[in-house]
Symmetry: C2
Subunit: 198 residues, 2 copies
């Protein structure tokens, strides 16, 4: 039974997922505020088809999945890293079965800590390699907060440097942000973003 949460409380509707590719695509599309038409155009497919795909009534071709992955800057593997088919999968993500959201090699490995995309916020496990540096500062229309589990990370918020160590936390919203790991070991953080950007 699905509990009806009232809108006013700010809880987004579609949380319970089927864990299908279509559900992922829908969440990704929504995170960018795109309509079916917006995404269908980019895939060079019809709106009706996309609607069917998102609801699991039709299977996208591999080529389509590749395009979607590219559009959202995700590894294709993301769409196939299915959570094990246990009853707990709706609620729990085991440390060994997180879905990777970025490829190794960029100095930052992000993986999803929630059972699926969607919801009011995104909670991500991020590992910043020693010496890694944000390619360029970014600004997002989001509220973001984080907590340092291991190692140390320098955050640059609106030009000010903050060296965060284990146990430190932060929050910002709307500022220009960048980061560097100036330590000798990887920095491990929990990072929360609302609303979701992936």
């Amino acid at each position: 039974m699905l509990v009806k949460l009232d809108k006013q409380a700010g809880v987004r509707a579609p949380l319970r997922s089927t864990g299908s590719i279509g559900t992922d695509i829908r969440a990704l599309r929504r995170s960018r505020n795109w309509t079916l038409n917006d995404l269908a155009a980019r895939l060079d497919r019809s709106v009706g088809w996309l609607s069917q795909v998102e609801r699991g009534q039709s299977e996208p071709a591999l080529a389509d999945i590749r395009t979607v992955a590219a559009l959202f800057d995700l590894p294709v593997s993301f769409f196939f890293s299915q959570s094990p088919d246990t009853p707990e999968a709706a609620y729990v993500v085991r440390s060994e079965s997180r879905r990777a959201m970025s490829d190794e090699g960029k100095g930052l490995v992000e993986s999803l800590l929630s059972p699926d995309l969607g919801g009011a916020f995104e909670i991500v496990h991020s590992v910043f390699a020693a010496g890694a540096r944000c390619p360029q500062p970014f600004v997002r229309l989001t509220e973001e907060a984080g907590y340092v589990i291991e190692g140390s990370l320098t955050l640059i918020i609106d030009g000010e440097n903050f060296v965060l160590k284990r146990g430190d936390s932060f929050r910002f919203a709307g500022e220009t942000v960048s980061w560097v790991n100036e330590g000798e070991v990887p920095a491990v953080l929990i990072w929360v973003i609302a609303p979701p950007v992936y």
Copy 2:
């Protein structure tokens, strides 16, 4: 300068705080969807006065603060655990200067990981004492997620038991939830709640 974030993106307005008691009270009141009138009535004070207090134009009496603390089930100390007056305080919370949101002794110590109350979600550091047990299951109109940093915690979601270990994470929304720490050591978690309940 305060960046204007657009509503559509779902970012709540009043983030930057003055760090005053009034700001805390306003955030707490809002988290329960109470109007000035609702809270003023409970404090047996006028609406105008409360408006002034929340905006720092008037000082509440100690008795008022005690009542507020009781209403929101917070220790009075919460309102006086000011973050150090450094420029970073707007963005960063150091591990040694978190604001405690619950008194020791209940088996659960929660402390705030964001620089102030308010915002789209709440991020909390929670330590569940070994053997501690949730006094009774709860249901909230929120979306909640968490990550186990240390130790182990059993979550009971809609009657199903999930034993979470270090590195595991979870998310739920609308379910009936309870918890026990059946381990021998404290369980340390990061817990995210949207929208804020404190």
